[in-house]
Symmetry: C2
Subunit: 375 residues, 2 copies
């Protein structure tokens, strides 16, 4: 099978499963491991494309479900595709809409054919199955499309998880069949909820379908982090080694470090941007709530040593003032910092892998990171 993307391994850490790769897409190269900022509605909240580039964004994610509802994929196709519509000329990954249909839409009915639901915006009746998801993602023209999967909640019983997984596998085949765009890669999604046997079965089944890359879905949905790490420990040996591995919806600093440790190459999450607008920031010491009264007269930056525009130019006191005064720029500056924090963390991670010292990096990170100020 001829794929529009290639994945080349550059380095492997000797003592851990961490890997350093280059993912080549129709819109350019991505150095992995990488974090992908999320632009749900064809925009990363509070950011412009040039700000995203400035902080080192290599690839962004956008949501099929949201764009299907508004403004609609036909309008975006008319605009020349999602890249042109939002003026972003680097790679884009679109999710399948599966997770949103399960988490946002109402009056959901799941059949083998697909999912009937009502729009969370206006209540209108809609239907999405593997073929619809593929058609929408092809209209959007992302570099990487994701297969339409069945998501389960935490907790869920073994039978429910097994049924959802098996349907996900059948839908993955339908996605492959429906997918036609030669300049777009289609990734499969491993499911299996919180059951190691199912996760391994799913990883093997998806591997047999020979996707150019694999998402790991259905984790980080409320289960304890040690449970997620244990599942990853067990399943990762069954994930194709030469393909990129994308841990979906995961994006707190500690999880990025732990995910890479277990061989993950790609991450995305709205956490960074969502907490930023409320005045909460990432630092190497853990969570910092800039809104707090104790920073009212703190004229230092959000994080000493950070190279972002916010930290280079503004104090905690000023950003706190903006947040308290309800000024958009307060949330903007925290967003810039949080995204830059994660992208810079990935830069440090890549360097550590290249220098074959990822275990030391991870140890040093957790020696400093205050888990009582975690997310």
């Amino acid at each position: 099978m001829n794929h529009p993307i290639t994945f080349k391994m550059v380095a492997r850490d000797a003592k851990t499963h961490a890997r350093r790769g280059i993912l080549t897409t129709p819109h350019g190269e991505i150095q992995t491991p990488i974090f992908m900022p999320v632009g749900t509605q064809a925009t990363v909240k509070a950011m412009t494309p040039r700000e995203l580039k400035e902080i080192g964004t290599q690839i962004m994610l956008s949501n099929t479900y949201h764009l299907h509802l508004r403004p609609g994929e036909e309008l975006i196709r008319e605009a020349g595709g999602l890249h042109r519509f939002m003026s972003w000329d680097k790679p884009i990954l679109t999710d399948s809409g599966g997770f949103q249909v399960f988490s946002l839409a109402s009056l959901r009915k799941i059949r083998e054919e697909g999912v009937s639901f009502r729009s969370h915006l206006d209540g209108s009746a809609m239907f999405m199955g593997p073929e619809e998801s593929m058609a929408i993602q092809e209209a959007l023209g992302s570099d990487i499309a994701m297969a339409f999967d069945v998501c389960t909640a935490y907790p869920c019983d073994h039978q429910t998880a097994k049924d959802a997984m098996e349907r996900t596998h059948r839908w993955a085949l339908r996605c492959q069949k429906a997918h036609t765009r030669a300049d777009q890669a289609l990734f499969g999604i491993v499911q299996g909820a919180f059951f190691t046997d199912l996760r391994i079965e799913s990883a093997k089944a998806l591997a047999d379908m020979d996707f150019p890359g694999y998402g790991i879905g259905g984790l980080s949905v409320g289960e304890p982090k040690p449970m997620m790490y244990e599942i990853l420990d067990e399943m990762m040996p069954y994930m194709p080694d030469e393909k990129p591995r994308y841990l979906m919806g995961v994006g707190s600093p500690d999880c990025l470090v732990e995910g890479v440790y277990r061989g993950i190459d790609m991450f995305d999450c709205v956490l960074a941007t969502r907490i930023a607008r409320n005045g909460t920031c990432f630092t190497d010491d853990g969570r910092l709530v800039v809104r707090n009264a104790k920073y009212a007269r703190d004229f230092g930056p959000i994080e000493e040593g950070c190279d972002c525009y916010a930290c280079q130019n503004f104090s905690r006191a000023y950003i706190r003032h903006l947040l308290k005064a309800g000024e958009i720029t307060g949330g903007r500056l925290c967003t810039i910092h949080n995204l830059r924090y994660l992208l810079r963390l990935m830069e440090r991670i890549r360097k550590a892998i290249e220098e074959n010292r990822y275990e030391e990096f991870r140890n040093a990170f957790f020696a400093r990171y205050d888990m009582s100020r975690n997310f």
Copy 2:
């Protein structure tokens, strides 16, 4: 009297009262006529300082009343002054707080001493007179401070206007006496409401006090525009010719063109930023409401020929999508366009004056500008 600012006339239009000057302040030169973006709470809403510079901002305005209430001038003094607090190294003008005390605060009591009022934020009792306003503005450290004046509403009777004007003159003297900062200029404010005799009397009285510049307050507060223009026509001959003249709170495109025509050098207004966040934009053809359904599939820029970041990179369809989806970036892009529109209009105005063709410029402007789509 030794002033920290100088005003040098560069060119005068032969057929109109339009003038082209250079105002030198402790934080640099300002080419006049100029529009000043308003940063009420120590930030121009939705903009960062580097974005302000990129669109050609030469000087910004901030509000004494708002900063006094939050975060307080002592905190800003501790931060090293307003320039450093907000990371803006170009000139800043602060208003006196007078207008806000009259328009925002509640339970207002005006005596000769000053104004007692309650904060519009938390209802706490406050007092501001000429001395307090001077002390706050000196703590902020703006390049240009404004005298604390008495504002009147539209309409108002002659006696009320006369009393307010006379008190404004007495307060202007108290401001001069209280003002000590050698690196800050203090501008007087001409009042007199909508009565030509009072406006002329006020212009003369203020001229006698030898301020380095003059605001014209109490206009554009609800009166018809022709009334404002008529008052300006009558009073401008009495405004010192060699001093900068600042028409306060005026900032629609047509008013800028008409103000310059009558010899105004400086303007400020929140209109540009306020309407932007609601998706309304300035163009040479008049108001353009990007939110309108008719732009849903319009893939052209807000305004053809505009050099701003929004117009260079995004379509009306995209910006409309952002606005409809409640995305901050929609309002940001409209803000960038609107401010750049006014600053570019002033650039065109300055060039027309330099080339001694301001009357032609004004005629061409109004031949195109659709007054039925005005503000």
